[in-house]
Amino acid sequence: MKELRKSRRDIGMIFQHFNLLWSRTVAENIAFPLEIANVPKAEIKQRVQELINLVGLSGRENAYPSQLSGGQKQRVGIARALANRPKVLLCDEATSALDPETTNAILDLLMDINQRLGLTIIMITHEMHVIRKVCNRVAVMEDGKVVEQGDVLHLFLQPKQPVTKKFVQQVMGIEDEETDFERLFQANPTAKIARLHFVGETTNQTLISKLAKLFAVDINILQGKITQTQLGAYGTLYVQFIGETGEMEKAIAFIKNETSVEVEVLQHEL
């Protein structure tokens, strides 16, 4: 039991409903885990000030939680969780009670902390956009078991479990079945319509303009959805190439051979 208590100090935890002591000020709330760990008073004072600056709450030291907004409360929660210099920060639905703007600010703070302190952050969440924005690896749980895990990009691209698919759809939208491009085929029978699959890597972000410069083709973007993750862009883009058949084939070959973008030319049914 004692061992468990000690090891808990190596895990900082933040909560959906912040769980701050309303009877204590911001500074006193942050000092609380240090008091539990029997840190000397002078040291507590110094550490608390450091943490307040880290989470951007300078000037609010003596406010009570009831005087703070949701985002500020969560900042106090984060400072409190970091007080004992934990090895891992566990975020239990930490942004689920916040509005989208505040969520983004808190996520930026978490990413900053992750980078600056070199601290592992574990997020428990149902918000896919949170995962997309900040996570490197993800594990999907169902009925108390991990059913699927891997890189965020990989998992978003190729979800295997039905539950994962459902989650991924939340952020990507339902994978549109090929919209009917028949009209386009008919209007311009020589044009080629291709589906581009972006699977990470940021080097291809200028792909379209590069193609237009290198080859004598016009490119018309038809539809698509691209999302930015920590590992690069990912998503699907439908484009129409208009130009000489030879040039179009060269352009498509370029995508295939020189980039990591997967390309698939749609056949038009006649």
Binding site: R5, I11, W22, S66
Partner: protein
């Protein structure tokens, strides 16, 4: 009925009686606060899903609380006369009233403490546990401070009940305003004394209520 002026009221006696009432109330209040806190904490900690979940201790404490809350105070005094005699060495005077006052009021306050503790956000207790806090730390630094406004308003309600109890104890010899009103007012048919005693008690009740409300509001940072 003798009600022309306050000719029967002797102010030095009234003053002494008021002092005795204060004395009994305050000492009994301190005892009630300590025992009530212990009872309330035991009830809270041993309840289902509590930190020290224990059916048997919970049952015993709950039974004790319920039994002593069920006994009418005047009968409790009679019941406790032998105990009082051993503890205080006399069964007369303000000190002799204290055991009965505390045993009569502590179970009541214990229930109020239990309710106050149950109102503490479970998430905060969970957070303290996640930080590796010991039970002692959770009690002293989370449960009690977080429930303090409710604990204070609870002790205010209890104090007012206690003032009522002291007058009952007064009638059977404990002194104070109850004693004064009964022997010097009611029994001599000097109702002006009863009247003045009533006013004094109402004033004392108001003072306790005002102080209690003030402290409770000051502590409440929600």
């Amino acid at each position: 009925m003798n009600f022309n002026g306050l000719e029967n009221v002797k102010f030095d006696e009234l003053w002494l009686a008021t002092y005795e009432t204060f004395y009994m109330t305050i000492l009994a209040l301190i005892g009630t606060f300590i025992f009530g806190l212990i009872l309330g904490l035991l009830l809270y900690l041993t309840m289902k899903d509590g930190i020290w979940e224990n059916k048997y201790i919970h049952f015993i404490v709950a039974a004790f609380v319920n039994v002593f809350r069920a006994i009418p105070f005047i009968i409790l005094i009679f019941l406790l006369i032998p105990v009082t005699n051993v503890l205080v060495g006399t069964i007369r005077g303000p000190n002799a009233a204290l055991p009965a006052l505390i045993i009569g009021a502590a179970p009541f306050y214990g229930r109020l403490v239990e309710i106050a503790l149950k109102e503490v956000d479970k998430g905060v207790v969970e957070a303290a546990k996640a930080m590796g806090a010991k039970t002692k730390t959770i009690i002293l630094k989370v449960l009690l401070p977080e429930s303090m406004p409710a604990l204070v308003s609870g002790i205010t309600v209890t104090a007012i009940a206690l003032i009522g109890y002291t007058t009952m104890a007064g009638v059977i010899g404990a002194g104070g305003l109850g004693n004064y009103a009964y022997y010097f007012g009611f029994q001599r048919r000097d109702y002006d004394v009863v009247f003045v005693c009533t006013i004094s008690i109402v004033v004392i009740v108001f003072i306790f209520q005002l102080i209690g409300d003030y402290i409770s509001n000051k502590l409440d940072k929600r």
